[in-house]
Symmetry: C2
Protein backbone atom coordinates (compact mmCIF):
# COMPACT_ATOMS: atom_id res chain seq x y z
CA UNK A 1 0.00 0.00 0.00
CA UNK A 2 3.10 2.25 -0.05
CA UNK A 3 1.70 4.17 2.93
CA UNK A 4 -0.64 6.65 1.33
CA UNK A 5 -1.64 8.12 4.68
CA UNK A 6 1.80 9.03 5.96
CA UNK A 7 3.01 10.51 2.70
CA UNK A 8 -0.14 12.53 2.35
CA UNK A 9 0.18 13.98 5.83
CA UNK A 10 3.84 14.73 5.32
CA UNK A 11 3.08 16.45 2.04
CA UNK A 12 0.35 18.60 3.49
CA UNK A 13 2.36 19.50 6.56
CA UNK A 14 5.44 20.46 4.57
CA UNK A 15 3.43 22.59 2.22
CA UNK A 16 2.04 24.47 5.19
CA UNK A 17 5.46 24.66 6.72
CA UNK A 18 6.82 26.55 3.73
CA UNK A 19 4.82 29.57 4.82
CA UNK A 20 4.50 28.88 8.54
CA UNK A 21 7.42 27.58 10.55
CA UNK A 22 5.15 26.27 13.32
CA UNK A 23 4.26 23.31 11.15
CA UNK A 24 7.26 21.28 12.22
CA UNK A 25 6.88 17.66 13.28
CA UNK A 26 7.48 18.69 16.87
CA UNK A 27 4.99 21.48 17.03
CA UNK A 28 2.24 19.76 15.11
CA UNK A 29 2.78 16.66 17.24
CA UNK A 30 2.42 18.73 20.35
CA UNK A 31 -0.74 20.42 19.09
CA UNK A 32 -2.43 17.13 18.28
CA UNK A 33 -1.19 15.52 21.48
CA UNK A 34 1.40 12.93 20.51
CA UNK A 35 5.16 12.59 20.82
CA UNK A 36 7.19 13.99 17.92
CA UNK A 37 8.86 10.64 17.34
CA UNK A 38 5.49 9.05 16.93
CA UNK A 39 4.26 11.57 14.37
CA UNK A 40 7.55 11.17 12.54
CA UNK A 41 7.08 7.43 12.34
CA UNK A 42 3.49 7.85 11.23
CA UNK A 43 4.50 10.18 8.42
CA UNK A 44 7.15 7.77 7.22
CA UNK A 45 4.78 4.83 7.42
CA UNK A 46 6.94 3.10 9.98
CA UNK A 47 3.87 2.58 12.12
CA UNK A 48 0.21 2.42 11.13
CA UNK A 49 -1.96 5.55 11.26
CA UNK A 50 -2.92 6.75 14.74
CA UNK A 51 -6.30 6.58 16.43
CA UNK A 52 -9.38 8.25 15.05
CA UNK A 53 -9.19 11.09 17.56
CA UNK A 54 -5.60 11.94 16.59
CA UNK A 55 -6.45 11.77 12.89
CA UNK A 56 -9.35 14.16 13.35
CA UNK A 57 -7.12 16.54 15.30
CA UNK A 58 -4.55 16.27 12.53
CA UNK A 59 -7.16 17.00 9.86
CA UNK A 60 -8.21 20.11 11.74
CA UNK A 61 -4.60 21.17 12.07
CA UNK A 62 -3.92 20.66 8.37
CA UNK A 63 -7.19 22.11 7.17
CA UNK A 64 -8.30 18.83 5.66
CA UNK A 65 -11.58 16.96 5.56
CA UNK A 66 -11.52 14.51 8.49
CA UNK A 67 -13.51 11.94 6.52
CA UNK A 68 -10.91 12.00 3.76
CA UNK A 69 -7.99 11.66 6.13
CA UNK A 70 -9.74 8.85 7.97
CA UNK A 71 -10.37 7.14 4.64
CA UNK A 72 -6.68 7.35 3.79
CA UNK A 73 -6.03 5.69 7.12
CA UNK A 74 -8.43 2.89 6.21
CA UNK A 75 -11.00 4.01 8.75
CA UNK A 76 -14.54 5.32 8.83
CA UNK A 77 -15.63 7.98 11.28
CA UNK A 78 -17.27 6.39 14.31
CA UNK A 79 -20.23 8.74 14.17
CA UNK A 80 -21.01 7.56 10.64
CA UNK A 81 -20.72 4.00 11.87
CA UNK A 82 -23.14 4.80 14.63
CA UNK A 83 -25.69 6.06 12.13
CA UNK A 84 -25.51 2.73 10.33
CA UNK A 85 -25.57 0.69 13.51
CA UNK A 86 -28.72 2.37 14.72
CA UNK A 87 -30.72 1.42 11.62
CA UNK A 88 -28.68 -1.30 9.91
CA UNK A 89 -31.24 -2.65 7.45
CA UNK A 90 -32.16 0.81 6.28
CA UNK A 91 -28.70 2.26 5.85
CA UNK A 92 -27.00 -0.90 4.71
CA UNK A 93 -29.71 -1.23 2.10
CA UNK A 94 -29.33 2.33 0.93
CA UNK A 95 -25.56 2.20 0.69
CA UNK A 96 -25.58 -1.11 -1.17
CA UNK A 97 -28.15 0.34 -3.53
CA UNK A 98 -26.08 3.35 -4.52
CA UNK A 99 -22.55 2.05 -4.03
CA UNK A 100 -21.92 1.66 -7.76
CA UNK A 101 -23.56 4.84 -8.90
CA UNK A 102 -21.26 7.42 -10.49
CA UNK A 103 -20.24 10.44 -8.46
CA UNK A 104 -22.55 12.88 -10.21
CA UNK A 105 -25.57 10.71 -9.56
CA UNK A 106 -24.82 10.39 -5.86
CA UNK A 107 -24.17 14.10 -5.70
CA UNK A 108 -27.48 14.81 -7.36
CA UNK A 109 -29.13 12.62 -4.76
CA UNK A 110 -27.47 14.51 -1.91
CA UNK A 111 -28.54 17.85 -3.34
CA UNK A 112 -32.06 16.67 -4.04
CA UNK A 113 -32.39 15.58 -0.43
CA UNK A 114 -30.85 18.74 0.96
CA UNK A 115 -32.92 21.06 -1.17
CA UNK A 116 -36.00 19.82 0.53
CA UNK A 117 -37.81 17.67 -1.97
CA UNK A 118 -37.91 15.39 1.00
Amino acid sequence: MTDVFGSYVRGRRERLRASDRTFSVRQVAQRIGVEPSFLSKVERGEVPPPSEAKIVALAKELGEDPDVLLALAGKVSSDLQEVIRKRPELFAGLIREIKDMPDHAVLRLVREVRDGNW
Copy 2:
Protein backbone atom coordinates in the same frame (compact mmCIF):
# COMPACT_ATOMS: atom_id res chain seq x y z
CA MET B 1 -25.26 -2.43 27.79
CA THR B 2 -26.47 -5.73 29.39
CA ASP B 3 -25.00 -7.67 26.46
CA VAL B 4 -27.63 -7.35 23.79
CA PHE B 5 -25.60 -9.38 21.29
CA GLY B 6 -25.10 -12.52 23.34
CA SER B 7 -28.68 -12.71 24.58
CA TYR B 8 -30.01 -12.17 21.09
CA VAL B 9 -27.88 -14.97 19.66
CA ARG B 10 -28.78 -17.31 22.49
CA GLY B 11 -32.46 -16.54 22.00
CA ARG B 12 -32.35 -17.20 18.28
CA ARG B 13 -30.32 -20.36 18.65
CA GLU B 14 -32.57 -21.80 21.34
CA ARG B 15 -35.66 -21.09 19.31
CA LEU B 16 -34.17 -22.99 16.41
CA ARG B 17 -33.06 -25.75 18.71
CA ALA B 18 -36.59 -26.41 19.82
CA SER B 19 -37.30 -27.90 16.40
CA ASP B 20 -33.80 -28.96 15.38
CA ARG B 21 -31.45 -30.62 17.83
CA THR B 22 -28.38 -29.74 15.78
CA PHE B 23 -28.58 -26.17 17.08
CA SER B 24 -26.65 -26.94 20.23
CA VAL B 25 -23.81 -24.69 21.35
CA ARG B 26 -21.34 -27.36 20.39
CA GLN B 27 -22.65 -28.02 16.91
CA VAL B 28 -23.27 -24.41 15.97
CA ALA B 29 -19.83 -23.54 17.28
CA GLN B 30 -18.31 -26.22 15.11
CA ARG B 31 -20.23 -25.06 12.05
CA ILE B 32 -19.09 -21.45 12.43
CA GLY B 33 -15.55 -22.50 13.29
CA VAL B 34 -15.03 -21.71 16.98
CA GLU B 35 -14.66 -23.71 20.15
CA PRO B 36 -17.89 -24.49 22.01
CA SER B 37 -16.62 -22.84 25.17
CA PHE B 38 -16.02 -19.67 23.23
CA LEU B 39 -19.53 -19.54 21.77
CA SER B 40 -20.90 -20.28 25.21
CA LYS B 41 -19.02 -17.32 26.65
CA VAL B 42 -20.09 -15.09 23.78
CA GLU B 43 -23.74 -15.96 24.30
CA ARG B 44 -23.51 -15.23 27.98
CA GLY B 45 -21.66 -11.98 27.38
CA GLU B 46 -18.63 -13.17 29.27
CA VAL B 47 -16.47 -12.08 26.37
CA PRO B 48 -17.13 -9.48 23.69
CA PRO B 49 -18.68 -10.47 20.36
CA PRO B 50 -16.41 -12.39 17.98
CA SER B 51 -14.83 -11.16 14.77
CA GLU B 52 -16.83 -9.96 11.80
CA ALA B 53 -16.28 -13.20 9.89
CA LYS B 54 -17.64 -15.33 12.74
CA ILE B 55 -20.61 -13.03 13.20
CA VAL B 56 -21.48 -13.27 9.52
CA ALA B 57 -21.19 -17.07 9.68
CA LEU B 58 -23.42 -17.03 12.74
CA ALA B 59 -25.99 -14.85 11.00
CA LYS B 60 -26.10 -17.27 8.11
CA GLU B 61 -26.47 -20.18 10.49
CA LEU B 62 -29.31 -18.50 12.37
CA GLY B 63 -31.04 -17.11 9.31
CA GLU B 64 -30.50 -13.53 10.42
CA ASP B 65 -29.51 -10.37 8.60
CA PRO B 66 -25.71 -10.06 8.97
CA ASP B 67 -25.92 -6.26 9.10
CA VAL B 68 -28.31 -6.46 12.03
CA LEU B 69 -26.20 -8.95 13.93
CA LEU B 70 -23.08 -6.89 13.27
CA ALA B 71 -24.91 -3.81 14.51
CA LEU B 72 -25.82 -5.60 17.73
CA ALA B 73 -22.13 -6.37 18.09
CA GLY B 74 -21.31 -2.66 17.68
CA LYS B 75 -19.76 -3.22 14.27
CA VAL B 76 -20.34 -2.20 10.68
CA SER B 77 -19.74 -4.58 7.80
CA SER B 78 -16.30 -4.00 6.32
CA ASP B 79 -17.64 -3.93 2.78
CA LEU B 80 -19.93 -1.03 3.71
CA GLN B 81 -16.94 0.70 5.26
CA GLU B 82 -15.04 0.17 2.07
CA VAL B 83 -17.76 1.89 0.07
CA ILE B 84 -17.45 4.93 2.29
CA ARG B 85 -13.65 4.87 2.29
CA LYS B 86 -13.51 4.88 -1.48
CA ARG B 87 -15.53 8.08 -1.80
CA PRO B 88 -15.51 9.66 1.65
CA GLU B 89 -16.76 13.14 0.86
CA LEU B 90 -19.63 11.81 -1.18
CA PHE B 91 -20.85 9.10 1.16
CA ALA B 92 -20.09 10.89 4.40
CA GLY B 93 -22.05 13.85 3.03
CA LEU B 94 -24.99 11.72 2.04
CA ILE B 95 -25.18 9.84 5.31
CA ARG B 96 -24.93 13.01 7.37
CA GLU B 97 -27.64 14.54 5.23
CA ILE B 98 -30.16 11.78 5.85
CA LYS B 99 -29.13 10.52 9.24
CA ASP B 100 -32.03 12.17 11.03
CA MET B 101 -34.70 11.41 8.48
CA PRO B 102 -37.48 9.11 9.66
CA ASP B 103 -37.48 5.52 8.49
CA HIS B 104 -40.21 5.94 5.94
CA ALA B 105 -38.42 8.80 4.23
CA VAL B 106 -35.17 6.85 3.95
CA LEU B 107 -37.10 3.86 2.72
CA ARG B 108 -38.82 5.99 0.10
CA LEU B 109 -35.40 7.18 -1.00
CA VAL B 110 -34.11 3.63 -1.32
CA ARG B 111 -37.11 2.60 -3.37
CA GLU B 112 -36.96 5.67 -5.53
CA VAL B 113 -33.34 4.90 -6.34
CA ARG B 114 -33.96 1.23 -6.94
CA ASP B 115 -36.96 1.78 -9.16
CA GLY B 116 -34.81 3.55 -11.60
CA ASN B 117 -35.68 7.22 -11.43
CA TRP B 118 -31.91 7.53 -11.32
